[in-house]
C-alpha cells in the first residue's frame, strides 16, 4: 500500500470510519472479474459471520466454479467439495461437528444441476446448514455455458441460438422449490444489483444463518448476481440486466420464514 494511502486511512479530527473491512474477510485481492458479484456476496457473508461472532466455529464448504477458491477469502476453516456435492459434504461436517456453523457457497450449476439431488435432500432433511446460491444464469468458470437458470432465449456457448423450451426446458426457480420442503426454515431470493438490494440481501443472509443457530433447519438464500464476462456486458449494463431481465423471471422475496411465522409476522412472496 502506498504511504499516502496509509495516511489517508487514518481518521482525521472529527471523522469516524464509516465503512471498513472485517477480520473474517481475508485481505487477499480476489481472482474474480471486475464487477463480479462474488466479491459483494463474499463480503456480506464475512460481515454476517463477524457480526454474529461465529467465525471461530465456522466451517466453510466450498464448491466448484469461479467460487472454487472461496476458502482463500475467508478466515475460517475451509473444506473443498466435489462439484455439486457441497450440501452432502456439509451434511457430513455438521453431523460430525454439531456445534459448528456450516455454510455452502454454490453457483447455479453446482447447486441446481449436478448438485440438485444433494441440495434438495440436505434441505429436505432440515440439515442445520446455510446454503448460499449464486444465480448468474451461466456457467462462469468454464466459459459461459448454459446453466439451469439460463433464461429462455438467452444465448450461451451451448445455446448459441438462445435457450429453447422445447430442447432445454425453462429456468429453474430454486428459492420457490426450497420453500416447499419441510426441512427448510428460511428461503429467500435477493439481488446484488443495487445498494438497496445489497442492503436487503445482507439482512436476508443474516436470517439464513440465524435459523441454523436457532436449530430451526436449512437456511437458503438465492442471490441474483452478474457475470459481466460471460454476459458480454460491462458491469453496469450487467446490473441493468439483473433488474430488467432476471427479476421478472426470478422475483425477489422471502418465500419461507419459519421464525417469522412463529412470531406471527407477515410473509410476502
Amino acid at each position: 500500500m502506498q504511504a499516502q494511502e496509509l495516511d489517508a486511512l487514518r481518521p482525521a479530527e472529527g471523522e469516524s470510519l464509516a465503512f471498513d473491512t472485517n477480520p473474517v474477510l481475508n485481505e487477499r485481492p480476489t481472482h474474480y472479474c471486475p464487477g463480479c458479484h462474488h466479491g459483494i456476496a463474499h463480503r456480506l457473508v464475512s460481515e454476517v459471520l463477524h457480526e454474529l461472532g461465529v467465525a471461530d466455529r465456522t466451517i466453510l464448504v466450498a464448491s466448484v466454479g469461479c467460487a472454487t477458491f472461496t476458502y482463500d477469502y475467508f478466515n475460517v476453516d475451509g473444506l473443498e467439495a466435489p462439484h455439486g456435492r457441497a450440501c452432502a459434504v456439509a451434511t457430513g461436517v455438521r453431523r460430525a461437528r454439531p456445534d459448528s456453523v456450516v455454510f455452502t457457497y454454490q453457483g447455479d450449476g453446482d447447486m441446481a444441476a449436478i448438485g440438485m439431488a444433494e441440495s434438495i435432500h440436505a434441505a429436505n432433511r432440515g440439515e442445520k446448514i446455510t446454503g448460499i446460491f449464486i444465480n448468474n444464469t451461466v456457467y462462469g468458470m468454464t466459459g459461459g455455458q448454459m446453466a439451469p437458470t439460463t433464461l429462455v432465449g438467452q444465448k450461451t456457448t451451448t445455446t448459441r441460438k438462445g435457450r429453447s423450451v422445447s430442447n432445454e426446458g425453462g429456468p429453474i426457480r430454486m428459492a420457490e422449490i426450497m420453500a416447499q420442503l419441510d426441512g427448510v426454515a428460511y428461503s429467500a431470493r435477493c439481488a446484488l444489483d443495487s445498494v438497496k438490494h445489497v442492503r436487503e440481501a445482507k439482512k436476508a443472509l443474516r436470517k439464513a444463518f440465524e435459523v441454523q443457530l436457532q436449530g430451526l433447519g436449512f437456511g437458503f438464500i438465492e442471490l441474483l448476481s452478474g457475470c459481466p464476462t460471460n454476459w458480454h456486458l460491462d458491469p453496469i449494463a450487467a446490473n441493468k440486466r439483473i433488474a430488467e431481465a432476471m427479476m421478472p423471471v426470478f422475483p425477489l422475496g422471502v418465500y419461507k420464514d419459519v421464525a417469522a411465522a412463529q412470531n406471527g409476522e407477515a410473509q410476502h412472496a
Binding site: V76, R85, G92, R95, A96
Partner: protein
Amino acid sequence: MSADTNRMLIKGNEAVAFGAVDAGCRCYFGYPITPQNEVPEALSSLLPEIGGQFVQAESEVAAINMLLGAAACGIPALTSSSSCGISLMQEGISYMAGSQIPGVMVNMQRGGPGLGDIGPSQGDYFQAVKGGGHGDHRNFVLAPSTAQECYDFMFRAFALAFKYANPVMVLGDAIVAQIKEPVRRVPPKDAVAPEKLADLAAPWRMEGFGRRGPGAKPRLLKSVYLAEGALAERNRMLMRKYESMKADVAWECTDTDDAELVVVAFGSIARIARSAIRQLRAEGHKIGLFRPITLFPFPDEALRALAPGRRFLVMEQNTGQMVEDVRLALFGQANVSPASVSWHGVMPGLFIGADALREPMLQALKEN
C-alpha cells in the same frame, strides 16, 4: 448354550456394523443395495443409541460426500455399498485421497458388470486396488474372508485410515456379507483406541479455528493445486505415502512349507479353496494356500520369498484380476517362469463349494 456373552451368531454385514461401532465409528452414511443392506440397517439403530449419526443418503454419490465431510472433521466415519454403488463413489474416493481424508468404505461385491446380479464376485479387485477414481491414488485394501474378520478388520480399517490419512476399502463379497457365523464381539488385541485416532487427526481436521486456542490460524483441506509445480510435489508426497504403506502389509500362509503348488486366493474364495486344499492334503498332495489379507499393499515380497521351487495357481471370482499382480510380483525372478503361474476363474455370481475348486487344483498339480 454358550456362556460367552460376547459370542453372537450374526452375518458378516452385521459384524461390520458391530466392528465399526466398537472401533469408534460415530457417523455412517449409506444407501440401500443388495447384498449389504444389514450394514445400514444395523447401524440405523446402533449409532443413535450411542449418540452417533446415521443418515440414509439419497444416493451413493451423496453418501461418499457425506463421508468426506465427516471424516474431514477427524471423526471415524463409514460408508458401505456394493459394486455398482461403489462405482458411483469413485469421484469422492479420489477427492478423499487427494485431500488426505480418512474415509472408510466397505464393498460387499456382487456380480457385474452393470447391474449384474446379487451373487458373490471379486470383480472389483482392480477398482479397489488400482485406485478406481481418477488420478494417481491408492486405497488401502483389506479382504476379510469370515464374519469374524468382518468384525476384526473394522478396527484395522479405522486405524490405518487415520495413520495414513487415506481412504481404506474393506473388500468383501456377497458370501462373507450374508454368511451367518459365530463372531466374538471382542476388540482385537492390537486395536487402536478411538482417542488415539482423534490425536492423529488433530493436525489437520476441520473443527473451527476457535478450538485450537488463541491466535490459531484457519486451515484448509483441499485437493486442487494450481500453482506451478504444486500438484507435482503433492503427487510425489502421495507416492511416498503409498510406498510407506508396505509397513502394514498382511498375508496368511497355510501348508506352504512343503507345497509344490500354492493356491493364491483372497476373501471367500480363499476360504473355499482352503476346504479343497484340506481334502487334497489328506489325499497326500503337497498343496498350500497363500492368502493376501491386504490387497494394497500387495504382499509381493512374501510371494517372491515363496517362489523358488513352487508353482502358483491363482483362483479368484472374476475373469482375471489379481493374477496380474501375482505375475507382476514374480516377473523377472530367477527360477520362476511365467508358466509357473496359472489361473482359474470362478465366474461372477456363482455360489460354489470346495468341489468346484478341487478339479482345477488337481489339474494344476499334474502339470509340471
